[in-house]
Structure formats: structure tokens, C-alpha cells
Symmetry: C2
Subunit: 325 residues, 2 copies
Amino acid sequence: MANIKDVAKLANVSVTTVSRVLNNRGYISQETKKSVQDAMNRLQYQPNEVARSLFRRQSYMIGLIIPAVSHPFFAKLTHFIEFYAHLQGYKIVLCNSLMESNKEKDYIEMLKRHQVDGIIMGSHTLEVEDYKEVRLPVVSFDRQIAPKIPYISSDNFTGGIIAAEHLIEKGCKKIAHISGSLALNVLANKRNDGFINTCRKKGLEYCVYETDINVLENDNYEDVINRLFREIPDVDGIFASSDIIAAKVMKKCSELGKRVPDEIKIVGYDDTDIAKYMVPGITTITQPIEAMAKYAVDYVVKQLDEELVPNETVLPVSLTARGTT
Amino acid sequence: MANIKDVAKLANVSVTTVSRVLNNRGYISQETKKSVQDAMNRLQYQPNEVARSLFRRQSYMIGLIIPAVSHPFFAKLTHFIEFYAHLQGYKIVLCNSLMESNKEKDYIEMLKRHQVDGIIMGSHTLEVEDYKEVRLPVVSFDRQIAPKIPYISSDNFTGGIIAAEHLIEKGCKKIAHISGSLALNVLANKRNDGFINTCRKKGLEYCVYETDINVLENDNYEDVINRLFREIPDVDGIFASSDIIAAKVMKKCSELGKRVPDEIKIVGYDDTDIAKYMVPGITTITQPIEAMAKYAVDYVVKQLDEELVPNETVLPVSLTARGTT
DNA sequence: TTGTATGCGTTATCAG
DNA sequence: CTGATAACGCATACAA
């Protein structure tokens, strides 16, 4: 690979001059500019971004730490994060934490050593103090880590309300929420608050079931769902905290011979593609994933530009009605 | 951020000595080693990997170019690629090409400028000559780009055969294949060859429908599916070239009142999660995605170690029978 | 066992 | 308008 020196030699100029045409900086005569460009082309010169990064102490890389890209929600989020990062000239270094806190910690260190310009944090197994030493711009997803770390989430509380209200409107009398682990310090748990609040207000019988911390172990979902149907055989409405759980519930209903939506109604969460694909389509709470991704990238970049960013950014959710209700 | 000089100063040694304890190289007394480590801890020193990369001309980064992580197949593939890369100390820079050839080209250049050690190529809109200038280790997914670029795929031809045979065994008399764009130069198209071969051999009526090049535009899928059912109303078996297409077919069947699998049978491809979630579960051709990911990473690393790698690596597929047949 | 000097490829400063 | 040089943070060859 040719470097700036080779170009300089071939064009009979100094490296400084080559650097100038490379960066369009300073005065330069048209002739030399052209001859330098010719040399670049002949050598197929590509500037070494590692050297540039070292010098300017900026890598144009953003680290993204999530539980797992294989999960549809994070796949979609990652997709848009990469998209908007690319628009602004940033690259994404992908890290799947698998919800293991030591992996999460290692990834943060690794990213720092690699001099990423910022980190988008969507996996949350660490404590607040673990973030003390991270002196990089961080944007958190779906969790309020510390006052100084801006977070982005959708309006989980309202999401829980909408879901519960929808089930109630549709005539459900005995509803359950299948929640993610409430032990986890994430804002998604506010869905449960919204759900419970609404049930209480309307004087409805309700119940909450928690899944494991692990986002990946789907087996655990099935255990929870089995338990739910065993303990509340006459449940007629389920609010599932992800479309995947909703799909699993649908499958169970089919096994049990419960007709959806006639005998039991289901509301999912996220509005990932699976909600559309299922037959019938899953009524779900739509998270504005693309907007969330865009904000995450913007906030990293803005912090780098030393612009002020809001600490809390809560984007609206909405109900997307389909066949399960 | 403290650098090696700061550590040296605090420990009252030279940077060389610090470098030595950092890399466990050369002779060093226990005392100085300890005092250097103390200094490192006190300063929370983290080596700057950008500087290291510049020096050793190796970044431990691998570029991954795919059409879109949001697609379940690529999400799963990406997940495992990152997993195995991390095991070997490599980082993944994620690039979604959206199947736009200029984006694909730009990403390749960008990755080279950033001095990635290798590229895993899962998006294929470019011509062979576009790869002439890529002087990096490349591993291609599902396409034979050039003799010198090793590729990994699963046995698409056999996949097509298995799918067709399964539909025929199950009693289908008039079957169709919904294929990806056959204009694309990818090995997935061999599924179609296997399908057609089998149908001919068994003397069965068959038909092939192609979708667009674009993996993302699902609207197009629906058009194709609509056309299929309009033109062959009595089709009783469909081989869909992805689980997503299969799911869309199921939805259409539900709209048309066609009972699956009684009136029409469906075989998908990939065995992504959606095949499990759908009700009934989708009978599908299982690709060994994890193994494919592992091989891709291994081959990049082996090329870097100047080990020989096979040009063609075709992994076996298998049928996973579920409810749609 | 430890230190000095040099270079990795680039950019900024400053002098011409 | 152009060029020599130092510096970014680190690791190696070579001295001591």
C-alpha cells in the first residue's frame, strides 16, 4: 500500500504538499495539485486512517454494545444506527454482550483502547460506578445510568397503559403481563407500571409474569408461558413485552386450542417484522426504532462537537392494531 | 488519558521498560515490573490500540459487509461472526450495503483506509474486477467471486433438492419455487437448479417466481406472491427461498382461506427464528449459520497467518420438518 | 536488566 | 505557494 511519502516522491513534492491536496487546505497551485492527484491515482493511494486517527485523536468510530444482534429489536436498531452513523462519517464497531457483565466490561475497555469516539450502550448489566471511568461520550438506550449520561428510550410507561387499555376496551376481563426481568435496571420495566396502573384504575384483575434476564434463552419464555396458562387457565388477554414473546404465546394458544383473538387477545411490543409476519398479525406497541437510532447517533456526535444534549429523550409509542386483538 | 510516557515517568523508568511489561517481552526485574504495574494502575493506563495498530500494521479489525443486519438471516450470521471474531481477539466493523453497489464499493475503500485486517463479504452487487484492487484477505459468503477468494456457502443445490423432494413426498402435485433474483450472481440460486432438477426427474409440474434484487423491500415479495396465486390458483406446494417469504406466503394463504398444510404445503429456507415462531412452524431448510460464521472468521484469520485455506467450503444443509408440510 | 533512538503514516507549525 | 520538522503513542533494534 502506497503511503503519502510515495506519492510525494512520485509527484516531486514534499509530503506536506500532498497532505495539502489531500485535505484541501492552504494555498496550492493548480499545476502541483494536478500532478499530486495524478500520482495518487497512479499509486492508488488511500490515506491511512489509523495514522490520521492517531494524530487527530479522533477515530470516527462508535462502539455499539447490545445484548445480541440476533434479537429482532436490536437487529433493527443496529441497522439504523449503522445507517445514520455512516451518514455522518462514523463507523460502527459491533459488540454483543450476551448480557454477561464481564463481557460488557471488557467491551468497554476494548473500545476505549481502540480510541472509539463514543459508545452507544444498549446492554445493561453494569452498575453505575462501572461507568465512572468511561470518559467517553456515552449514550444509553432504555436506561438511566447516571444524570450525566444521556439516555434515549420510548415512552414505556405509556406503552404499558396503551396496551392495557386496548385489551380492556376489547373486552378482556382477566389479563396478564409477561414482562422482562424486573430485577434489571431498565426503563422497559415502566411498561409494567403503566400496565398495572391502568388495571387498577379500571378495577381489573391482572397478573404479572417475569421472564429471565437472558434475552437469548427462549426456552425460559416457554416455561413462563406454560406457568401462566397453568395458573390462570381462563386468562383472556395477554400483554407481552416483546413481539417474540407474543409469538410464543400465540404458538401456545394454538397448542391449547385457544382461538386468537376470539378466546384470548394478545398485544406485543416493539413492532418488529415478526409482528407483521405472524398469522394473524400481532397487535403491538410500536417503538420508533429508527428515530431512537438516529437520536443515539446524533447525541454521540453532538457530544463530540461539545454541543449540549438533553439528558432524557423519551420518544412516543403508538398502538398498531392487527389480528391478535 | 494517560499514555506510556506518563507511566514511565511515574515509575521512573523508560518507555521501553513500560512497553516491555505491557507486552511481557524481554528481561525485566520483578521490582521494576511491579512498580510499572503500580504506575499503570494508578494512572488507569490503557494502551492506545491505534498507535499499536499503526506500528505493527495490524488493526485486529475485520470488516463485515452485508445487505442489512435487519434481515434475520444476516442478523444471526452477524451475531456469530462477531462472537467468533471476539474469541480470536478481532473486532467487527459493521457495514450495511443495502444492496447498493456504490455503497458496497465505498465501504470496501473505507475499510481499507481504516486498515482492517480482512473483509467478510456477504453483499454481492460488484463485479469481479472491482475486487482486483482489494489486496486484503477476503472471505466471501454465498458467492464465488474469483478463484483466489475463498467462499463459504451451504449446499444450496442439495437444499433445493431436499425441499422439492419433501414437497413431492408429501403429495404435492403442482409446486412452485419463489426464488431470489436469479440475475444476482450468488450461489443461493443453485437452490433453484436443485429444485428444477428434482421436479423434472420426478416428472412434476413446477414453476419458478423471482423476487427483486432488493432484500429489504418486502412489498415486492407480496406482489410476486399475489401473481403466483393468480396465475396458478391450484398450486399445492411452495418452496420459498427464505423463511420470511414463507411467512408471507402463509399470510396470503390465510387471506385466501387456503389451509396450511392441508390444501397447500410450504417449505422455507434458512431456519431463522421466525420459522419456529410461526403458527404452524415452518418446515424449512436449515442452514448451518453458526458454522458458516465460524468458518468465515477462521478463514480471515488463517489468511492473515498465511495458512492455506480452501477456496470452496460448502456446508451441509438439512430439512427441519414443522407444521407447514 | 534497562535506556536511547528511530520509525509507523499523517498533520500542523513555522520558516522560506 | 512550498518544504523541513516535530509530534501523535507505541514497539523495536541496538547500545550500554
